[in-house]
Amino acid sequence: MSSRRSLLWVMVATVALVAGLVAVAGRHSIARNPTGAVVESGGPSFDAIRSDEIQSILPQDAIPALIKPAYLSASQASDIYDQEEVIGVVINGDARAYPLSTLSAHEIVDDDVGGRSIAVTW
């Protein structure tokens, strides 16, 4: 994330750890329809987190992000098994893969891919 303006973000898959790090107040009644394929509910579509609901449980960088890491080509990556799950991103023809095992350890990768500054988050 080299500057505020270039701060673009790839939301990949989000571990719901996020919901654990914050405390969101309030409850809403939910309409249930266990037999239907599509189930609508009655709450608001979005419940923003208030600043005063945040509790820090780890210091900054306790989970170190990877910033502009080195990559391998597909042929060089012989220790990555075909069955491993990865997050893939393609921007302007620049394809990158992020194994979930690495994302689990670091949670965020900041890099420039295909001319855009992105954060891959897990």
Binding site: M11, V15, V24, R27, V39, I54, Q60, V86, G88, A97
Partner: protein, 201 residues
């Protein structure tokens, strides 16, 4: 998460700054694909990949994935439509949220849907992941179906590749569907942020 430049705090799940100088700012959410490495490198042979050197010695969350705990500080909201730690694929169309139960997507391999007037298709990209695409192409709405291990559209009979969203055979060969940014999340994480979410299961 926080940014080094301003120490603002951001939500992973929404991409919104919620505390600090950038509070209220919104990051652009880009589409990404989850699939297996074998499928990804077949689709994109020139891809580069993060090596395992960076990974920790063990998965710090292995117990968390396997256990019943939902959230580090406990749950503040409940929604029994699914078990809290079932995985969903979440999308937002016109700022309205909808979640698709990952198990149902993986079992069906293909789900055609229309949400807020936007025709969508979810295509399984492995037995534990899926991608979301718009199913309008050149003014035509396509309807997809799984045929064996491949995906076809009813209207033209073209064959589609789930990982790339591209037609690889048939009249539409070479054409691409538009990917829809989507978030894989535990159900409890998604409904905490989007309590009014629709759910497909």
């Amino acid at each position: 998460m926080y940014d080094h430049e301003t120490s603002s705090l951001w939500s992973h799940l929404t991409g919104t700054a919620i505390q600090g100088p950038l509070s209220g700012s919104q990051l652009t959410v880009l589409p990404a694909t989850q699939t297996r490495w074998g499928a990804w490198k077949t689709a994109y042979p020139a891809t580069r990949v993060l090596p395992h050197d960076y990974a920790g010695q063990r998965d710090e969350y292995a117990r968390y994935y396997a256990g019943g705990d939902a959230g580090i500080l406990g749950r503040k909201r409940a929604d029994s439509r699914l078990p809290p730690k079932d995985l969903v694929i979440g999308v937002r169309v016109m700022d309205l949220p909808k979640a698709y139960w990952l198990d149902s997507v993986v079992n069906a391999k293909v789900i055609n849907d229309t949400f807020e007037n936007l025709p969508l298709v979810l295509l399984a990209t492995s037995d534990e992941s899926a991608s979301v695409y718009e199913r309008n192409l050149n003014g035509q709405t396509l309807t997809f179906e799984a045929v064996g291990s491949t995906v076809h559209d009813h209207e033209t009979g073209s064959t589609w590749e789930p990982v790339t969203g591209k037609a690889i055979a048939g009249p539409l060969a070479g054409q691409s569907l538009t990917p829809v940014p989507a978030t894989t999340s535990f159900w409890f994480g998604w409904f905490d942020f989007f309590p009014g979410t629709a759910l497909y299961k």
